[in-house]
């Protein structure tokens, strides 16, 4: 196991990047498109929370529909496309060989995104499954599984065909996510939709799936970015790297058992939430190792990519602690069934999104072969993301806590509870609006990057290390 060393600027763009140009650009472009679409749907969803009459006459956009639509667009559109683009590029780079099977990535990505479009139309027509984070209509799910397999296979090829025998933490995390997602996605499809299990076992299985999306898909991809970018940009060896392997297996081993934390007090065997409480404390072992390994992310030294990564890492660590505390029965009695859980979901999404933004700022110029054209657009996106996510999560958490306290007071009816949460939901809506603006800035910036011509001037600019990641 070796730590990657910094490469000199002259070798910044290699055959490896050229092999990935087409397929990975398409993945990034579609991920950014879904990010904006999901953000707008999320905005509509938040407006409906404090103004229920908003679009109420539109049968396609009831609150239940916009909830499922935004969640599906962000997880399966933004997270999967963006995570795969970043993960596959890391695997090719660290494997030291050009990406093989790039056509499979492109074909898989086309079908994945067509399938997702059909899925969103299906949800708007009321075809969602009503399982949280698995709302994709039944008819589209097998296609999505095959499309994901086509996109992930070149990643596994890059792992098995790597030129260096030793592997690095980033590779474990990416390969883990690529291999495990089809595993639990297919199990959930069969056992929930095609040969459904009976009664509340469906609920247990659905929560197992949703937790795996967090712990085995989003979390590993975010961590992979941090392990890659920190030594690359700083040019330093990761401290106490020998522990990284324990951090990896502890996430996989304990993370997936946290499934029952949303089922506290419900009609399921009581040991399921108990296991979740134990697991969410044990998984902190993973967070401690990450902190020991990666704490230098918090001193970005002018690198925009590392600034994003730093905030992403902070969100990741905070999420671990919040999960451990708020899975306890005493606190869950207040936060269960409230906006607090929405805030926790947003925290996971923030940790993931900010890390992937960092990776996109770092790798997009290398894939395209040109420098980011505008540092002001990058700065605008950075400010909007940081302020947007912080305010959104805090406002939802406060709204959720107050909602939970009010729900536990039988004197207060639902009109009164809506009045209590309304100011905070308005703040959250504004924050989500800001996030959409920021993500739009990134989308426009990426389009401009793609249109940049390789003139002598842009090449000269590109050869300055700072230009490669839009330093501010």
């Amino acid at each position: 196991m070796t730590t990657v060393s910094t490469s000199s600027v002259s070798t910044e763009v290699s055959d490896i990047d050229r092999s990935a140009h087409c397929s990975l650009s398409f993945l990034i472009a579609s991920s950014l498109a879904w990010l904006v679409i999901g953000g707008v749907l999320s905005l509509i969803n938040l407006i409906q929370l404090h103004t229920p009459a908003f679009l109420a006459d539109c049968a396609w956009l009831t609150y239940g529909h916009t909830q499922a639509l935004q969640e599906t667009a962000l997880i399966y559109g933004w997270a999967v496309n963006g995570g795969l683009a970043v993960g596959l590029w890391f695997l090719a780079r660290l494997g030291g060989a050009p990406l093989r099977g790039g056509n499979y990535i492109s074909i898989g990505a086309v079908f994945w995104n067509l399938g997702l479009t059909a899925a969103l139309v299906g949800i708007a027509c009321g075809e969602m499954t009503s399982f949280s984070l698995l709302q994709l209509p039944r008819f589209i799910q097998p296609l999505m599984l095959v499309a994901f397999g086509a996109m992930a296979a070149p990643g596994v090829l890059a792992w098995t065909g790597r030129r260096k025998e030793a592997t690095y933490a980033t590779q474990w995390y990416v390969v883990g996510a690529l291999f495990l997602f089809p595993w639990f996605f297919s199990v959930a499809q069969v056992m929930l939709l095609f040969v459904p299990v009976r009664g509340v076992l469906q609920t247990v299985l659905a929560s197992w799936y949703a937790q795996n999306v967090y712990s085995l898909l989003l979390a590993p991809l975010a961590v992979a970015v941090l392990y890659y970018l920190l030594p690359k940009i700083k040019g330093k060896v990761i401290p106490s790297y020998d522990f990284a392997i324990y951090g990896f297996w502890s996430l996989l081993l304990f993370g997936t058992w946290m499934a029952g934390r949303t089922l506290v007090g419900g009609p399921v065997p009581a040991w399921i939430p108990t296991m979740a409480i134990v697991a969410s404390s044990l998984v902190l072992f993973h967070h401690i190792i990450l902190f020991v390994n990666l704490r230098e992310v918090f001193s970005p030294a002018g690198s925009l990519a590392l600034k994003f990564a730093g905030f992403g890492f902070a969100a990741y660590l905070i999420n671990g602690v919040v999960d451990a505390f708020f899975s306890s029965r005493v606190l869950a009695a207040v936060t269960q069934f409230t906006y607090f859980q929405t805030a926790q979901h947003q925290l996971v999404l923030a940790a993931f999104s900010l890390s992937i933004f960092a990776a996109i700022y770092y790798l997009a110029p290398r894939i395209v072969g040109a420098a980011w054209p505008s540092s002001s657009l990058a700065r605008a996106h950075y400010m909007a993301s940081i302020i947007g996510f912080t305010v959104l999560i805090c406002a939802l958490a406060i709204a959720g806590w107050r909602q939970g306290v009010a729900l536990n007071n039988p004197e207060l009816n639902f009109t009164a509870i809506a009045g209590i949460t309304r100011p905070w939901l308005l703040v959250a809506t504004a924050a989500q609006g800001l996030l959409v603006v920021g993500n739009l800035a990134l989308g426009i910036h990426f389009v401009r990057l793609m249109l940049t011509k390789s003139t002598a001037e842009s090449l000269a600019k590109f050869n300055q290390p700072s230009a490669l990641e839009a330093s501010s």
Binding site: G126, S130, T167, V197, G199, V268
Partner: protein, 211 residues
């Protein structure tokens, strides 16, 4: 990590472990749960939903009602479920064995509906008045106008039309979706006293000493 086979085996095994523990463990514990046959009443509980109500459950699912409403009464020490009259006892796994897809929900932006049918009966809410509140919205719930058809009265008015809501000369007729949804909502109840649903009462050490 040089051994590729061991790595992939480890990945597979880690997830298989949690799947076996959570899913097969629950299946082993309650997979053979069946409705309880009551000799005195001469029928099984929970009762199978009527055809109309089963179709209504699909409407409930399609509209995404579960995004705001739960259908589970928590154990006595959790929250104000009992004080809010959402149920006289906690929900248990047996309450859901007859449902093709239990919609337990995970968010309480509106009230819990596990015993909505029972509450409606107590409060004297019938299908007609429930349809009116579905049309007008209530207590923060948006109005679901697209579940109704507004049409001009030609000749005799429809007997299904909502009373006292439509403009003069017009009538508001609930669609089939609205009717089945209301039938479903009014069918929701978890009132049968299963033995496992009784609250746990600790046995004191001095009790039983005289027996």
């Amino acid at each position: 990590m040089k051994n590729g086979f061991l790595f992939f085996f480890g990945l597979f095994f880690v997830l298989a472990l949690s799947w076996a523990g959570l899913v097969l463990g629950t299946q082993a514990q309650m997979g053979d749960l069946s409705p309880h046959y009551d000799d005195l009443e001469g029928k099984s509980f929970p009762e199978r939903a009527s055809g109309l109500a089963s179709r209504g459950q699909l409407v409930y699912q399609d509209l995404g009602c579960a995004a705001c409403h739960t259908q589970q009464v928590r154990r006595p020490e959790y929250g104000s479920d009992k004080e809010r009259n959402w149920g006289s006892r906690q929900s248990v796994a047996r309450d859901y064995v007859q449902q093709a897809r239990p919609l337990l929900g995970s968010s309480r932006i509106g009230p819990d509906l596990a015993n909505f049918g029972m509450r409606a009966k107590e409060d004297g809410v019938d299908a007609a008045s429930l349809l009116v509140s579905l049309y007008n919205g209530s207590e923060g719930m948006p109005a679901y106008r697209f579940l109704f058809e507004e049409r001009k009265i030609i000749g005799e008015s429809s007997p299904k039309g909502l009373q006292g809501v439509a403009a003069p000369g017009y009538e508001l007729v609930p669609t089939e979706r609205a009717e089945t949804l209301v039938a479903y909502l009014l069918s929701l109840k978890q009132t049968y006293e299963f033995s496992e649903a009784r609250p746990f009462e600790p046995v004191h050490a001095n009790e039983g000493a005289h027996e």
